[in-house]
Symmetry: C2
Subunit: 386 residues, 2 copies
Amino acid sequence: MTKVAVVGAGQTRYGALQEGGRALFAEAVKAALVTVDRGMAPGEIEEGWIGSVGSGGWQLGNLAALAGEEAGMAGAPMHRVENACASSGFAFRNAYLAVRSGAVEVALAGGVEKMTDLSGVHQRYWLGVSGETEWERLAGLTFAGVYGLIASRHMKEFGTTREDLAHVAVKNHRNGAKNPVAHFRKEITMDDAMNAPPVSEPLHLYDCCPVSDGASAVVLVSEKVVGKYTDSPVWVRGSGAATDLLAVHQRESLTSLRASAVAGKTAMREAVVGHRDIHLAEMHDCFTIAELVAMEDLGFAPKGGAGRMVRNGETEIGGRLPVNPSGGLKSKGHPLGATGTGQICEIFKQLRGKAEKGREVKGAEVALAHNVGGSGATCAVHVLGV
Amino acid sequence: MTKVAVVGAGQTRYGALQEGGRALFAEAVKAALVTVDRGMAPGEIEEGWIGSVGSGGWQLGNLAALAGEEAGMAGAPMHRVENACASSGFAFRNAYLAVRSGAVEVALAGGVEKMTDLSGVHQRYWLGVSGETEWERLAGLTFAGVYGLIASRHMKEFGTTREDLAHVAVKNHRNGAKNPVAHFRKEITMDDAMNAPPVSEPLHLYDCCPVSDGASAVVLVSEKVVGKYTDSPVWVRGSGAATDLLAVHQRESLTSLRASAVAGKTAMREAVVGHRDIHLAEMHDCFTIAELVAMEDLGFAPKGGAGRMVRNGETEIGGRLPVNPSGGLKSKGHPLGATGTGQICEIFKQLRGKAEKGREVKGAEVALAHNVGGSGATCAVHVLGV
């Protein structure tokens, strides 16, 4: 089996950006190539996978060919992957499998989303259809609504409090404030979080990730050619993916996403690592409650115990398991299709000791990325290590 | 390197169907599993890739999870691939690479499209954005328009005639008339084709494929487990894929699709076959001229020589190289995302000697599938053999 390494990773800043999706993607590819120690031209990329949820909504279709062309990879086979907010987590899995197969030596995985400056219909439509339609969307249940239900149930079952959620928001804003690519580069206080206007009880404004534009890209290569590009590869140690029933009412539990648990177990088994071997994790915190549920589903906290871990500062940078040192979806932002490989960008930076001052996870050697699509209908988890 | 085999393949009928996309996909998976000699339950499928262009347009999103769930594969990782009309050709490539990597032993590749009974806006939108937007779509150039330009230029450069195009239509309708899944199961005459109303000169009605609903699915397994499922596998011998510039005016030639040429060469090189080793081909004949151009780009005819081959009956069943024994997109139909794996379904049937009476390619052992997205912006080619 061919081993697979990440040798480059880059992203645009996230936020309400002026550029279109095509330009953003090209910028991310350029940013990724710049990080390849011994250099790489776009023409060296043999095949690419691009995650995007609503690319048709930009009025530009056939994204695979279009984005490849714009990024200097014209001619190379390109695939668009759409798995809701886990699109580029799945794009990364495809690129990993392709290199592992021996058919491709140098692959690109990335993602892009343009969410602002679209007609409101388009934006709401593409967000909305990523959830369940017949029982949820058409009944008026938004994503904030679903996660509000999950939070309420988590509070009832395990005593989780609004303060626990606020701790997640404060931590992620603190991390994001030091991340130059983050959508929100400002710290918030517990008071800010607690007193923010409600969105979908018990979730208030600072419990919800923003609507962001952005793009991210990473370069994967086989062990056969890795020496050509770097002496400091970040190896893909394990990859796991899973789906779950789309409608939350059909699932056994409201307080657990089975796809996360299965994908996490698969990735960690393949990587042959235990929870104590993981030095940092990027988790899909589309809402603050999602970070707590992910910690539990992935086995980093006992069921119902994530709130306490966050309260105790164990997930802060410097704590036992830093979670979302990038700022997470909450503060770094959530350009849907770009989020999954954006997590890999953060891990690449951290594991190579290149994270910005004040938000470095010192000595980190192994990390986990957790990317969710819809309200848990799909999930991809990757373990990387130096 | 793990060898990869197709052990099951099935599809719905193509046409203006009553069922929705979700039900169609489940029907195709069921049809594929029925063809597995020693049987297979949907739960044995470890991972799946689904091609679809406009799935959001059915008002149901998150297709990967949704379609997997409906087809009995809940829990298994599922990916949606969107590469315009080559979506499931690329889905097949992903499934092939995944099995080849050793990470997956049993994979599914399929596709589905619901095109009728949608609002006209949705249907035109999803078709339209698969082409180039800024120079073509917004200027009013439809797909029929692009292929009309290609046909005109081919006529001017090589003396191709409207009769040559009509021969393609008559042949494909003759084949499709005997294919129980075909959208149009009726033969047409040269007069019908020549006297049909114009769509985009020099293309007339019978030069254009229809707008179809339908779904297709194929099961791929590793050589390690193939014996569990069949003694008559159809091996994937070669896989090639490529992209081209999206806008036709930026390409070097109007009468050649470079992505086809590159993908074809790659697939045939991997398969270690020459043109005389291929016993039949399914080619992407969205318009009759596209079949001629594909024959030339893939090297089965010299440049400008495809018309003569068709005129001489060499591409008929019983001829030197039967092209589109299924009826092709022209007569079998073109449910965008389903077309690529639909071609594999036809090849699976033919190579196992199970094609319907009157349209069998007798003794066929090696076949080629050619699937194009947009007006040539993406292409996937596969060579299969028993």
